[in-house]
Symmetry: C2
DNA sequence: CGTATGCTTGAGACGTATCAAGTTCGGTGG
DNA sequence: CCACCGAACTTGATACGTCTCAAGCATACG
């Protein structure tokens, strides 16, 4: 894991932070309901930061006194299981906010955030967040809907993890990655993950992932070329993931 | 599954609903931050209902245009996996609110709610809820913290389901039940679940649960007497669940 | 060019699901 | 109150899936 800079969260701008009002992430994020004046207010207090691939944005167990907004890049959120194995619980990309859970509960962060693809991330202090909540009910609602959606996704994951076989989970995860990061012009999932990282999503061993990927390839559902995964038959993957055949 | 009454949610009072201001659930719930005037407002629009053991409060796939507040009783929230197997994702008891996720996202309910122990439940319409959010930022925050906590719990469950062996998951679930429902004077978990229901939590077959419970008994961590489960060695259960030995 | 890292393959052991009996429990009606 | 019935629970045997370990192979990088 290369960690080129050692960085803490409260930071001078190394990155020339774009104003929230022109940030591409705005429209896709919970902040879209805020007024320009309120966005200006955030601009004045936020910290911006560029993170290289592999860097840590925050670590499970520490505290967050604010929220991170992803302006660019791809992030994985994972936690350490009891045996020390990594479990990826969520991904974040442009427009997503992360790290707010700990700020809300005032409890330690329950997951770590690592950069998968170079990222630009802004940090908004808790006080600013809370004052927005007070001032703008629409924003409250937006945040509520977001957390509700997250808990929904997570509880769906619980069912999947508990009931599906590993190949079904793998199929499911590929579809999830497709939803989150999209496909490139070749129908390949637009993110590069190691087999180990895929294993940490599926909840299995890397060896198993390799065998299962080959299995999917033999079933002509996917095509493999290094780390690139091309989806040949999305419907087939859905069928497999849901035992609908 | 006895279903003595066929009931829809929008309901005349069959149950003499207690006023929110004197309801035992209030202090333990998100509503504690509301003023007496606001509670009165809820009183005027809410519907109250008694549910017998086994009854359905709402079903996965349908829509909720409000939120249910548990005034009394014990509820399980479960969803159907792809193979049609039940997966319990959460429990609710006095002071908990359920069914709000669908109201917020305007998407179908992602879980069903069944009564485990006779329950009294109030229904608060979405419009009232939203007006409270607008009027009372403290309440917004309370709700946010709640949904955040739920998503946290769920994501912890994901890791557990993916990584732990079934006996560890069982130990974990017993501890979870203890936290949720407490112990009676005999150190028995204060809820009666069938082996099948335990299986739906742990994510395994009922036969496996039986064998695993016996295993825990042989390890002198629990004692069994019918459906009652006595916890002999809580620390031991924690150790087992976390592989810390 | 050599070393490290990630990837791939194989063989064996373990855990868990499944199927097929039995047994006990709880409620109902005679 | 007892006998009966169905549901829930328990047990055993077997098969399958998956993890682990061990080794070999490809790839990336200095």
């Amino acid at each position: 894991m290369p960690a080129k800079y050692d960085i803490c969260h409260i930071m001078p701008e190394r990155y020339n932070t774009p104003s929230c009002s022109i940030c591409g992430a705005k429209e896709k994020s919970v902040f879209c309901s805020l007024s320009n004046a309120q966005l200006k207010e955030i601009d004045e207090v936020k910290g911006g930061q560029i993170y290289a691939k592999g860097e840590t944005i925050f670590k499970e167990g520490s505290y967050s006194r604010g929220l991170f907004c992803v302006s660019k890049g791809k992030i994985k959120l994972s936690r350490l299981g009891a045996s020390g194995r990594e479990q990826i619980v969520r991904f974040a990309t442009v427009g997503d906010v992360i790290g707010y859970n700990s700020m809300l509960s005032k409890k330690p962060l329950s997951a770590s955030a690592f950069v998968i693809e170079e990222a630009a991330i802004c940090f908004i202090p808790a006080e600013t967040f809370f004052s927005m909540i007070k001032a703008e009910p629409k924003f409250s609602l937006e945040m509520l809907q977001l957390t509700a959606k997250n808990w929904d996704t997570a509880s769906r994951l619980v069912t999947d993890m508990a009931q599906k076989t590993s190949i079904q989970r793998l199929a499911e995860m590929l579809l999830w990655l497709k939803e989150t990061f999209g496909l490139d012009e070749d129908n390949c999932i637009d993110i590069q993950l190691s087999r180990e990282e895929i294993a940490s999503m599926v909840g299995t061993a890397t060896e198993a992932v390799i065998r299962l990927l080959r299995n999917l390839k033999e079933k002509r559902l996917i095509e493999l070329e290094g780390k690139k995964i091309k989806l040949l038959d999305i419907h087939g993957l859905v069928m497999l993931a849901d035992i609908l055949d």
